[in-house]
């Protein structure tokens, strides 16, 4: 099955990748449309980061397909990754460089043609007072902001962020939320993983729940008792898997 609809930014079809210890991601189906934010939530080890790595070509699936903007990533030329911005596990921020130097170098790697991109994202993520400071001297939260800035500065159509609010202070969370809303307003499709259910509830259009490497269901954002609904879904899935 292939999705030629350009409005589908990310499509995963029956994606499976199993590691030697038995863990992994199993038969994951996922679509992220243009103009929507999809959140992946799950307990530690649920497979969120592994799924994101599969979507970005950091891992090859044992079976299944991944498409970005309708193109299968296994045969996609490198140039087509230009539309993607991502942060997985660690921000792309080199300690020996200043914030501005980092962003300028990443702009080169992302083949960005926007001459003002660095200045704009520095302002949007409130990095102005740190712009000429070495990343080595920044707090974890500000390093995370630099990583997010390098993922978003080139106006990507596809955004994949793994635990983006980790280490961010409340001001950083709000700045990120605003930046992501600007992304979707431009037509980007955004996939984020998070442990912060309240934050996810405010941010996402759809919430997917992962457990044991599988996408086990969906929760409506804005639900009053999201935490309870999440744990109930996970408990039911654990029970069903224990039975089989």
């Amino acid at each position: 099955m292939t999705s030629k609809n350009p409005q589908i930014r990310i499509a995963a079809q029956e994606v499976t990748r199993q590691f030697a210890n038995g863990s992994g991601v199993f038969a994951a189906d996922l679509k992220v449309h243009a103009g929507e934010i999809v959140a992946l939530i799950g307990l530690n080890g649920a497979g969120k980061t592994t799924l994101m790595k599969l979507l970005l070509g950091m891992l090859k699936p044992d079976s299944g397909n991944v498409e970005i903007n309708g193109r299968n990533i296994s045969s996609m030329p490198a140039a087509d990754w230009k539309v993607v911005g991502h942060v997985i596990e660690y921000p792309l921020a080199y300690p020996e460089l200043t914030v501005r130097q980092n962003l300028q170098l990443v702009s080169r790697l992302r083949d960005s043609n926007d001459p003002h991109g660095t200045d704009v994202i520095i302002k949007e993520l409130s990095l102005g007072m740190y712009a000429d400071r070495g990343v080595r001297s920044l707090s974890l939260g500000n390093r995370q902001r630099v990583g997010l800035a390098s993922a978003l500065m080139h106006h990507p159509e596809v955004v994949v962020l793994d635990e983006p609010t980790n280490s961010l202070d409340p001001a950083g969370v709000i700045a990120l939320r605003d930046a992501l809303h600007r992304c979707v307003a431009r037509g980007a499709g955004v996939l984020v993983s998070s442990h912060h259910l309240d934050e996810v509830s405010r941010l996402a259009n759809r919430i997917l729940v992962m457990n044991g490497g599988r996408i086990i269901g969906q929760l409506p954002p804005g639900e009053a008792n999201l935490e309870h609904a999440f744990f109930e879904l996970v408990r039911q899935d654990d029970e069903e898997r224990n039975k089989s």
Binding site: M58, L59, A78, V87, E89, E96, L105, R108
Partner: protein
């Protein structure tokens, strides 16, 4: 590729490792040579005995000593910097940011090797220039001879000799693995020389050639360095191209 090269060269020259590596190599080799010169000049019998037939008060002896130090020290210095350059992406976690880019990972690996080669060439030029200035300052006796030329060529060939370290650092995903490879290269070279296979052990041939003024390593043996380095360049590019973050 051009963009990746600019990025990798900027990272290397602005890094502490790049700066310290360059300083240690240039100052280290020069200071050892000056120390040996002063020892020999003062007539210290212990230093004179250690130097054997080398007389560091002459241009020939001074640069032969520099060549001996560079043969091991240059490879160690270049190798450690190269190991860091590749392995740091894994230890710093920045490797995830090098996926899903319009620049392929193979291009990034080649850009890293090109940036390292340029950096090491600049360090080599500065090292030879420093040694030459020091030699003039010490008012060494005799003709300048081929020592400066052999020292410079040894430095350049040491860049090629160090290239396998990039592959090992990538496969091991740690700086320690890369540093281990550097030490391994040095140790195996010593054993190969002792066993009499030095010239045919391609990675030891440049030092042997420079020290023996070309007697113990033929042009054919030296020329094998290029295909061997080429194989390691291709292998490193291939490993980066097929890289998966599965551990």
């Amino acid at each position: 590729m051009r963009q990746a090269f600019i990025v990798e060269f900027s990272k290397l020259v602005r890094s502490r490792v790049g700066k310290i590596g360059a300083t240690v190599l240039i100052a280290g080799v020069s200071l050892v040579c000056v120390a040996m010169y002063l020892g020999a000049h003062s007539g210290d019998p212990q230093v004179v005995a250690k130097l054997g037939s080398i007389d560091p008060t002459t241009w020939f002896g001074f640069f032969n000593m520099a060549i001996q130090v560079t043969g091991t020290g240059g490879l160690l210095g270049f190798g450690v910097v190269l190991a860091w350059q590749f392995a740091r992406e894994f230890s710093d976690g920045t490797i995830t940011g090098l996926f899903a880019l319009p620049v392929s990972r193979m291009q990034i690996a080649f850009a890293k090797l090109a940036a390292f080669s340029l950096w090491a060439t600049l360090v080599s030029i500065l090292l030879v220039a420093t040694l030459t200035l020091v030699a003039f300052g010490l008012q060494l006796s005799g003709d300048i001879g081929t020592g400066v030329f052999r020292e410079f060529l040894l430095c350049l060939m040491s860049i090629l000799v160090a290239l396998p370290v990039a592959l090992v650092a990538t496969l091991g995903r740690s700086i320690l693995a890369g540093v281990g490879a550097v030490i391994g290269l040095v140790v195996v070279a010593q054993i190969a020389v002792i066993m009499g296979a030095g010239g045919w052990y391609t990675l030891a041939a440049p030092a042997l050639w420079a020290i023996s003024e070309g007697e113990k390593a033929s042009p054919l043996q030296l020329s094998l360095l290029f295909p061997v380095a080429g194989v390691f360049i291709v292998l490193t590019g291939w490993v980066w191209r097929t890289l998966q973050l599965d551990r």
